[in-house]
Amino acid sequence: METATKLTGLSEAIDLGILDPAQAEFFETPGGFTGLRLHGTEYKRVALRRAMPIAQPSSYISVADHENKEICVIRSLSDLDDENLRVVTAELDRRYYCPEVVSIKSVKDKMGYVYMELRVTGHGETFDKNCAVKDVNKNIRLLDESSLIIFDVDGNRYIVPSLAALDKKSLKRLEPYLF
């Protein structure tokens, strides 16, 4: 009689390289970058990348060296101590720039491009942005039933975290592009 061979689990076969937070020390370099000391090695510049920036922005943060070679993965930001959390969050804020739309002042369709005047907030400051959106089907994208992201022709991103939070006029201006 054949005996069933136990399959190796994926997490056993593949090392995710999850960071042991107690071993890591993230720091800000004088040049304006973020560095990491880990197991006796000092990385002068690390790149932090969210594996799931929209669905799970605080989990699975890949840490890579200056040659883009992955060093480790932070499972969750909540695993980090206060100082590491401060440095890592600041770096993530600098890498992911996506202002939130507060209101939409105007939307005009011109020659196949949609020109928008947005009032946005980023890092606590509110300001106005003019943007042009090409191919609205692709670049005004509903993330779920209540939030959406806008990509303009330059590659800038603007997020509407809650459509319900927009004022009536803004929502009406945006409505033709929601589908």
Partner: protein
């Protein structure tokens, strides 16, 4: 001479918006200020490179020092990304040469008038674009069709005249004969005959006008399509790659078609409705000015109401169209990938996904139809108010003896002639906007400057010499250099293999030899002549290329071979196929060289396709041969056969060959190893092995893989 090169940036160190300026001066210093405050001013001494580091929705420029230190110079949103790349190029040129080359003109990314972003590839702001100038230009192109259009307009005017006669005949019939219950029957028959004739002539002349309009509009669309296609063929790869194939096809086919529809439908109807409107107005005013006033009384309300109605309905139908388009794309995707769906057993999941989308489409459609069913009859009722007013007051006037029945009937008939142009006028701005958008897109292609200009007086020297790269730097995006200061000298008749990991710039190197792009810095020369100094046609006639993915056009084997040399003799075709090792399999096919191969050559195997590609490349007998992974998709046996053909061919030709499978480069005189966009190693196979560097590692890695596979 400019002393400073500046970059405007928009984010400070905390990622808050700012008005920042980064400056590079001829004296080799970089400085920055933000919101009026000076931030730093430093020398470039000891600097190795300035580079852009793109983030997500933002980016930064940093300075890399020779001692390994790195400094952020500024941060910016994506709007400044391209100009940041240009800034780095200027700084890096200084770092490499110690000379400052500050470009006179700087590319702007925002409209100087309104401050809105410019769309990539366009120099005009679509927001501020003057519609009159587009229309003017479109009309200028209509010039060859002027006579046809004039004839069409005369036909329309005549047809409208006959159409307008009918209510007038009606009035005479009612007032002179029917209401007085008298008159010879012959007169009534004559009037009926006249009405019949007027109606018949109206239709016949209308058919003639339609034909004339169609001839003009089809000719116009054909002219635009030909011009756009001609321009597309002449654009550079970098211009073409900015747009998707779908976008380019749409511009050549659909946008020209929209313009055609506008001229044939909107143009014709517009003129007809305008003529009708003016004539009816004159007749009505002459007949009874007071009743005319009643006809026009509800016009402003009706016009505003209709405009609102169409706007509202259009938005809703646009949403329905988008939902429908989404369903189509899901369906398209799933049917295309049905093998994957089935292999993962995900049929139910896909059914669920599609059902969800069709449900949403059904909801939107149903809601729209309900609304349409309610609003459209209401709007029709509303537009009929003028008719009721005329009937009410007209009937009163008849009873008082101030108006004849014929005049009232004539009025009610003319009312429809007045409201029809009104309905048309409401939709006209949208038609015009659609046509203008299409025209702008076509003109955009026509106006695009080629970034690979042909020199007016090209030096078409015989390209029998070697190929050299002199300090070549290049990036598809200016902020992401692929090749950095590459200098290579390939001697005449030498075969050089280019190796390296994926993405190091191997294909980019040969793209530059084919002049699909121009280097950002340095020069590529053949026989000592800069590629920019010779005509592109001369270059392409002298370079034969075999790619990994061979594209064969729909047609016969013969057609595909002579594609490279349309005037090739039959003997040359056979000789090229023999040289490429293709003759053997071609001759075995029942139709030989006349065998039709499907789109992309699906009816023949990969190896056979590759051999045809080699035959196509060598039929011109080019002194320079480029092989870009020409045999990498083939099995070892087929590769050996093709390699054999290739070895015979490359003798005496300058050959550049790229291959991942290093064994295919055995015959190479020299190997060049690229790493991180630079030439890392150069030498013969034996020399490189001895160096125990990157090439050695690559060979060892492949040997290991080979052993494991065995």
């Amino acid at each position: 001479m400019q002393e400073t090169y500046t970059l405007s940036y928009d984010l400070d160190a905390r990622m808050l918006p700012c008005e920042g300026v980064l400056r590079f001066t001829r004296s080799g210093r970089v400085s920055a200020s933000a919101d009026g405050a000076e931030l730093f001013d430093r020398t470039l001494e000891g600097a190795e490179e300035a580079a852009v580091l793109p983030g997500v929705g933002c980016g930064l420029i940093f300075l890399k020092m020779k001692d390994g230190e790195e400094f952020v110079l500024c941060r910016f949103s994506m709007s400044a990304l391209l100009t940041a790349g240009e800034f780095c190029k200027v700084v890096n040129y200084y770092i490499q040469t110690n000379t400052a080359a500050i470009p006179e003109e700087k590319e702007t990314r925002v409209c100087e008038k309104c401050g809105r972003p410019l769309v990539e590839g366009l120099k005009v702001c679509l927001f501020c674009y003057n519609r009159t100038s587009v229309l003017k230009r479109a009309l200028e192109l209509l010039r060859p069709f002027r006579r046809t259009l004039l004839v069409a307009q005369i036909f329309v005017a005549v047809a409208s005249f006959f159409y307008l006669l009918i209510p007038l005949f009606n009035r005479v019939l009612i007032d002179n004969y029917l209401s007085q219950m008298r008159g010879p029957a012959a007169h009534i028959v004559m009037l009926a005959g006249a009405m019949f004739l007027a109606r018949g002539l109206n239709e016949v002349i209308f058919i003639l006008s339609s034909r004339a309009y169609n001839r003009a509009s089809i000719g116009y669309a054909n002219l635009l399509r030909t011009m756009a296609y001609d321009k597309l063929q002449r654009l550079s790869m970098s211009s073409l790659q900015k747009r998707t194939p779908g976008d380019l096809i749409r511009r050549v086919m659909e946008d020209t078609s929209t313009v055609k529809d506008f001229i044939s439908d909107a143009g014709r109807w517009g003129i007809e409705q305008f003529i009708m409107f003016v004539i009816v107005m004159v007749i009505l005013l002459i007949t009874n000015p007071w009743l005319t006033l009643l006809v026009f009384l509800p016009v402003p309300v009706v016009a505003v109401g209709m405009s609102r109605f169409w706007r509202f309905i259009n938005i809703r139908y646009e949403r329905q169209w988008r939902r429908s388009s989404r369903c189509n794309s899901i369906l398209h995707d799933i049917i295309k990938g049905i093998r994957t769906v089935k292999s993962f057993g995900n049929e139910d999941q896909e059914i669920e996904k599609f059902m969800g989308e069709t449900r949403k489409l059904a909801e939107v459609s149903s809601s729209n139809e309900k609304l349409w069913a309610l609003l459209f009859p209401s709007m029709v009722f509303f537009t009929g108010i003028g008719e009721f007013l005329v009937l009410y007051f007209g009937a009163g006037a008849i009873l008082d003896g101030g108006l004849s029945l014929g005049v009232l009937v004539q009025f009610t008939m003319f009312i429809t002639y007045v409201y029809a142009p009104l309905r048309w006028l409401v939709s006209f701005p949208r038609w015009l906007a659609d046509a203008m958008t299409s025209m702008v897109k076509v003109f955009e292609i026509l106006d695009e400057d080629t970034d690979l200009p042909n020199k007016e007086d090209p030096a078409n020297v015989p390209l029998t010499g070697g190929v050299s790269f002199e300090g070549v730097s290049f990036g598809y995006k200016s902020y992401e250099p692929v090749l950095k200061d590459v200098s290579i000298d390939v001697r005449q008749g030498e075969m050089v293999g280019i190796v390296g990991k994926s993405g190091v710039g191997k294909t980019t190197l040969i793209n530059l030899v084919m002049r699909l792009y121009d280097p950002n810095a340095g020069s590529v020369r053949i026989s000592g002549c800069d590629l920019r100094d010779m005509s592109q046609q001369h270059l392409h006639e002298n370079v034969g290329v075999v790619f990994q993915d061979t594209f064969l056009f729909a047609g016969t084997v013969y057609d595909n071979i002579v594609y490279a040399k349309p005037d090739a003799t039959q003997e040359e075709v056979i000789a090229a196929c023999k040289a490429g090792g293709a003759h053997e399999f071609i001759i075995k096919m029942p139709d030989g060289y006349n065998t039709v191969i499907g789109e992309n050559g699906h009816t023949i195997s990969g190896g056979e396709r590759q051999r045809l590609a080699i035959a196509r490349a060598v039929i011109k007998n080019p002194p320079i041969l480029i092989l870009d992974e020409a045999t990498s998709s083939l099995d070892v046996e087929t590769e050996a056969i093709i390699q054999d053909s290739l070895h015979k061919l490359i003798k005496g030709r300058t050959t550049l060959a790229i291959a991942h499978r290093l064994s295919t480069l055995r015959a190479a005189d020299r190997l060049i190893v690229l790493d991180k966009g630079k030439v890392a190693e150069m030498g013969t196979h034996a020399e490189l092995l001895k160096m125990k560097g990157i090439y050695y590692d690559l060979v060892m890695a492949q040997r290991q893989t080979g052993k494991k596979n065995k």
